[in-house]
């Protein structure tokens, strides 16, 4: 465990992705195979089942530390992480051990087979033999919240550095429902994998936001326009009768969207589509529907029925095995249309329309209706442009709608967790309704570090009441809240749900009496909801 704890410290001590990757690559070069395999498993979301509840862990930790449980609970929000809180409150270790990562995971797996008293004894004895960082890592294994700032993508890159294999090939190897119990490091990572090459994606071409006016782009006839969809960018690959789906950030997500398996029925080998994965039921569903699918690695039948996804395909990168990226956009689009337009509705593919326009003014009018089409604005693409690599200016532009805004009063504040522990960063905002204040949204982002420090000092001095970690503060400060959409919601007391709310500006110039009202909010819901 000392090696693994040292790896954790090295990763934790830096904010530089390259340094994190290098630390992990070093570990992959030197650790024993079974520890490497478990490391790969942990950083790809595979972990041993939880043998104890977090409630039990809190109680045991408080007991060992000789403190009442309420005190433990008070300390937790200050630290912001349960595993760390436990590691910190426990008295110093009285013994020392250096078992491997695999040893500890095996120990944890065995816990599931024994009585609760034996589990407790095993965990207490483990705590007593580990120093603080090792304890923290051990608790992370125990509670299953194993992230440590390492994404699967970063882990895959480190593995690529350590093994000399292509990153995308490794991403393919790591797919599927393997566990460390069902494979070995050699079989998973080192043995031949002929299918891997067939899954390789093209790097995505990413658009910049349009600065200024579209008039600067020249003649409208040189450009095509599409809705800018609010989904997940995706690349769909059909080769050797296999379907592979990559999301932006080059993460292989085939397993998360089983709908696309059927794409092989409709598309010939040697086809690569670029587009937007959208939740779709006779039309695009709001983004919060798709959000329920994004994080899930396994998808229930119910969810497949309620929130099916399609690919709104807007580009064709490979056709009949040939790379089309140097072909002009207009020609790629024509070929794409010929391929997708004839498909029936039960194919998980859609051909989003090109928006007709003769003048930029006409397109501006169309863009103004984007919210009616569940779109965030329009995309402009040069008809003569090639498909480039990464974020490039020139041929593709996002022309998004301006966000909606409302001036709201801060009424509750809560400290952040993790990196933002001990700073007030999570706020609840209200609109005025006569003399009352009606809370309608929370927001966490948008302020500078200096502003967060300033508001934190203010909150400390202006707390009216505490509810656990939440503080009710004097209604005084007005913030401009920007958001992308508004919908009626039965889950929220105010009756509305905002999409991506953030603090656009701290309106120190505005007194409380000039904050917006509940009537203003309802009017926005009527117009934009």
């Amino acid at each position: 465990m000392k090696d693994f704890a040292r790896l954790f410290s090295r990763i934790d001590e830096t904010n530089k992705t390259t340094a994190k990757t290098a630390a992990l690559a070093d570990y992959f070069r030197t650790a024993p195979d079974d520890d490497k395999l478990w490391t790969v498993a942990l950083f790809s979301g595979r972990r041993p089942k939880r043998a104890v509840t977090t409630t039990q862990l809190r109680e045991w930790a408080a007991e060992v530390a000789g403190i009442p449980l309420w005190l433990f609970e008070e300390a937790y929000p200050v630290v912001g992480d349960l595993s760390e809180t436990i590691a910190l409150v426990l008295p110093r270790a009285t013994s020392s051990s250096d078992h491997s990562l695999t040893h500890w995971i095996t120990t944890l797996k065995r816990l599931q087979e024994v009585e609760i008293d034996a589990r407790r004894a095993a965990i207490l004895s483990a705590w007593d033999g580990l120093e603080t960082t090792e304890r923290f890592v051990f608790n992370k294994l125990l509670t299953g919240g194993f992230r440590m700032g390492v994404s699967q993508k970063l882990m895959t890159r480190a593995l690529a550095q350590a093994t000399g294999q292509e990153e995308t090939d490794l991403a393919h190897r790591l797919m599927g429902d393997w566990t460390p119990e069902t494979t070995t490091f050699h079989d998973l990572i080192e043995a031949d994998d002929p299918a891997a090459a067939g899954s390789r994606p093209y790097p995505f071409y990413l658009a910049y936001a349009l600065e200024g006016e579209p008039q600067d782009l020249g003649s409208p006839s040189d450009w095509q326009a599409e809705w800018k969809w609010d989904g997940i960018r995706g690349q769909l690959i059909v080769r050797d009768r296999q379907v592979h789906v990559w999301s932006r950030g080059e993460e292989l997500v085939t397993d998360r969207y089983p709908e696309f398996a059927a794409a092989a029925d409709w598309l010939p080998d040697g086809t690569v589509l670029d587009g937007e994965i959208l939740a779709w039921n006779d039309g695009p569903l709001p983004f919060n529907a798709l959000q329920k699918r994004i994080g899930r690695k396994s998808v229930s039948k119910k969810m497949l029925v309620e929130i099916p996804v399609v690919l709104a395909a807007y580009d064709l990168l490979e056709w009949q095995g040939a790379d089309l990226r140097e072909v002009p956009m207009a020609d790629r689009r024509a070929q794409l249309g010929a391929l997708i337009a004839p498909l029936p509705d039960d194919a998980p593919l859609r051909l989003p329309p090109l928006l007709p326009f003769d003048t930029w003014e006409a397109l501006a009018d169309t863009r103004a209706t984007a919210r009616d089409h569940a779109a965030e604005g329009v995309m402009l693409k040069s008809r003569a442009g090639t498909y480039q690599v990464g974020r490039r200016k020139g041929d593709w532009w996002k022309w998004k709608l301006d966000p909606l805004t409302i001036d709201a009063v801060m009424i509750y504040a809560q400290a952040g967790s993790g990196r933002r522990a001990n700073l007030f960063t999570d706020f609840t905002f209200a609109v005025r309704d006569g003399d009352a204040l009606v809370p309608f949204t929370k927001a966490y982002s948008g302020l500078t570090d200096a502003e967060f420090r300033e508001i934190t000092a203010w909150v400390r001095k202006n707390t009216l009441q505490r509810f656990g970690p939440v503080r009710q503060v004097t209604p005084h400060h007005v913030f401009e809240i920007a958001f992308e959409g508004i919908q009626a919601s039965t889950r929220h007391k105010s009756g509305v749900a905002l999409r991506f709310p953030r603090m656009a500006r701290w309106r120190k110039d505005k007194p409380l009496a000039e904050a917006n009202t509940l009537d203003d909010l309802n009017e926005m819901l009527r117009v934009y909801g």
Binding site: I67, V78, G418, T456, A457
Partner: protein
Amino acid sequence: MAPILTHTDKGIYCAAGDFWIDPWRPVPRALITHGHADHARPGMGAYLATHAALPVLRHRLGEIDAEGISYGETRRIGAASVSFHPAGHVPGSAQIRVEVAGEVWVVSGDYKVEPDGLSEPFEPVRCHHFITECTFGLPVFRWQPQATVMAQVNDWWRANASAGTVSMLGAYSLGKAQRLIANIDAAIGPILTHGAVEATNAVLRAQGYDLPDTIHWTSDAGKPPRDALVIAPPGALDGQWARAFGTRSTAFASGWMGVRGIRRRRAGDRGFVISDHADWPGLLSAIRDTGAENVYPTHGYTDIFARYLSSELGLNAQVWEAEYGGDDAEEVDAA
């Protein structure tokens, strides 16, 4: 009868002697525990502090009407007897004992119980009423022995020095910086200092505190030696002055570095957990050693700490409201 010390909008007040302790607004007569800015403020009619604290006070506040007192020396002010006792926080720091008609109050100021090799070591003072700081009054704060942490600092510096990377350590310029300088392995390489740190070094050296040699480093000083350790106020590590050192590893030394989230927010390469305040066991042992039955936590996790003292230890504990401290960053840096 009114309590001997009361809470006023200017600070802790003693009616029997008509003086204030660490007041935050101008008063005719102020007793000062130590020279940190949130305890020693400008504008007081007269100051009383330990002889050891006075030079720093004068350095920071300029021309003041100030008088020194020795540790342990008793002085009569009106109907009150006052004396100053080592708090172990920074050189010259004191707890202030106030006795009126046989009843004893102690104001802790800031303190730590572990001797740091530079400050006059903390001495418990028996009392009936104890106003105690509790900056780190939660059980998640438990310091390792100073020697252990200094070994970590030495290892970090040594590794950087051999890699040709300058080591930059952010530490509060009064107290923490000198504690680090006094305890570091000065054989590893040269110790360079920022002006704010060096100014305090000079004051303390003139008083007879023993510090190894340091080099005041200015931006026109040319190329810095690659094996150097640079000690500077945390705020200086982001600026122009720091960039001139080229490839460097940045670390901060504070009790807050024990919490991962705070350490990561500070965005240094390393965070060393070393504080001039008492940790949880330190606070509890200090309170126990006073024998006080009335304890008033101030500055820190006061509500939680007071609840623990009353419900678990059976003390009469009440929060002592105070207007200490600035913003969060300042606290993180100083503690």
